[in-house]
């Protein structure tokens, strides 16, 4: 809320995640456990992430969660770039993902990645398609909520992210799983 008391539109942002890949042989990524501050901000949250000292090519990733008013679900936007700022292609990004993510992407009819314009930033980003979101959220919540009403936002986001995060190789730290 700003001084006029108006709600401002924003998005959740997690930036500068570093994934290291070795130059020779198959790319070995390090999936990094990240603690994220899930408050709504318009500026990016700069997280310094502890990385191993390897003299390899570093790939940087930014993740934004933007709410889709049409589908009424959150959507994950992400992009990768190398240290000189050059954007990474989807093929390169896929090589950075853990192999479990790649098979999830290929097999699941609910998750696929498209290149679209970021709704706020006017640049091409990769987006995880929201099509099946509502269905698998329902599957996740079936066992938990008894009265069938809306689950609290935090729980929704964590559930949503537990699936979506897997696709792009992000893990939720244990503290967040209540």
């Amino acid at each position: 809320m700003d001084s006029a008391g108006e709600k401002k539109e924003g998005y959740l942002s997690l930036e500068k995640i570093i994934i290291l890949s070795s130059l020779e042989g198959s790319a070995e990524e390090e999936s990094l456990d990240v603690t994220a501050d899930w408050s709504e901000k318009e500026e990016s949250i700069d997280h310094t992430v502890l990385v191993q000292n390897v003299e390899d090519e570093a790939h940087y990733y930014d993740y934004h969660i933007v709410y889709s008013a049409s589908y009424m679900v959150p959507m994950l936007y992400f992009r990768g770039y190398s240290s000189d700022g050059k954007p990474l292609s989807l093929d390169v990004i896929k090589r950075d993902l853990p192999s479990s993510s790649v098979s999830l992407l290929l097999e699941s009819k609910w998750t696929f990645i498209t290149q679209e314009e970021h709704p706020y930033l006017n640049r091409p980003w990769f987006k995880l398609h929201p099509c099946g979101t509502e269905e698998w959220i329902k599957l996740l919540s079936e066992s938990s909520s008894s009265d069938g009403c809306q689950m609290p936002v935090e729980l929704y986001l964590v559930s949503w992210f537990s699936v979506v995060g897997q696709v792009v190789g992000l893990k939720i730290p244990r503290e967040m799983l209540i």
Partner: protein, 335 residues
């Protein structure tokens, strides 16, 4: 029928080959093309390329357009681009075509007709989700029906589109006002809007894409509106409008736009000329200069009167993918 005018709407284009790509002497004259408003620029390439193919340097094509240096987003319907970027309509509209040097840091990639078709079907699915609450109607369409539908849009073939559109099974978009007005022509209700016991429409979400261009200073003529340098000057809102039910009152185009842009809601006292309630600040103290204002609203090239019932606007002026595209020029509120 209004939809016929919408489908027949076209923009005369004068397309210039970018000077860096002219490899012939003398340089080729510009191509003159009539572009359908509901169409997309990449679909015109097959008409334009013959004019320039002898002038192009060797290499592979990666085609894109610009208007006064601004790279044009190919997935926005041509008519919308024109309404938005040309405050004072330019006829013919002078665009530059490039066959090299695709600005992939700014524009998402375009692989010709396939990309445009994918974008169209995706928008149709999104509109379906908004109207019906799910995309099943589009997903359940046969592949050949989807193909035929897309082809009818590409070719501007309204007859085929009209024949095919019942197969999309898109719900009706209505509010109380238009329902009463169309009582003489009963239509089958195909889901989408909730009906309660009394038969009154409860909720309806309408697919809208709002393009907002703002100027900081007021202007007398449209030609005084400064040119756009970057897309960062446009706010793009891809957000459904919710029909709000107010007893006895019609939901107007103004109501719809104000629901998406609450900072441009006109002061109630100013609107109705009434005294209004006791205010701590006298409304007249806040002068016109400091208030934000909707200066111009264009849909399908028409400058809209804002008091028109929104349901009429939607049903008559929407694009083939069931989205209503609205270009708005506003004067920013001064803070």
């Amino acid at each position: 029928m209004a939809v016929k005018y919408v489908w027949e709407g076209a923009i005369p284009l004068q397309i210039h080959l970018h000077k860096s790509e002219v490899a012939s002497h003398p340089p080729p004259p510009p191509a003159l093309v009539l572009a359908p408003r509901i169409g997309y620029l990449p679909l015109l390439v097959h008409l334009i390329k013959p004019y320039f193919k002898d002038s192009l340097p060797p290499g592979e094509d990666s085609i894109w357009f610009d208007y006064k240096g601004l790279p044009l987003k190919w997935y926005i319907p041509t008519g919308v681009l024109f309404d938005l970027l040309c405050a004072e309509p330019e006829r013919p509209w002078n665009l530059t075509i490039h066959f090299r040097g695709y600005p992939s840091n700014v524009l998402i990639p375009c692989e010709g007709e396939d990309s445009v078709k994918w974008n169209f079907v995706n928008s149709l699915k999104e509109a379906a989700y908004i109207i019906n609450g799910n995309c099943k109607n589009v997903m359940n369409m046969s592949q050949s029906d989807q193909e035929d539908l897309w082809t009818s849009v590409m070719n501007g073939d309204l007859d085929t589109y009209t024949r095919l559109s019942p197969k999309i099974k898109m719900g009706n978009i209505e509010d109380e006002f238009s329902r009463k007005a169309s009582v003489s022509s009963p239509q089958s209700r195909q889901g989408g809007t909730e009906i309660d016991v009394a038969g009154q429409v409860k909720t309806a979400r309408v697919p809208v894409r709002l393009y907002v261009r703002s100027v900081s200073k007021d202007f007398e003529n449209l030609e005084d509106v400064p040119e756009m340098d970057t897309w960062d000057e446009i706010s793009y809102l891809n957000r459904p409008v919710q029909f709000l039910r107010k007893e006895g009152k019609c939901f107007t185009l103004r109501d719809a736009i104000e629901s998406l842009l609450p900072e441009y809601i006109r002061d109630r006292a100013q609107r109705s000329g009434e005294e209004g309630e006791q205010r701590t600040t006298d409304a007249s103290d806040v002068s016109q200069e400091t208030r934000g204002e909707l200066k111009l609203v264009r849909i399908q090239g028409i400058e809209m009167k804002l008091e028109i019932p929104f349901s009429w606007v939607v049903n008559n002026l929407m694009n083939p993918e069931f989205y209503l595209h609205i270009s708005v020029l506003v004067k920013e509120p001064q803070r």
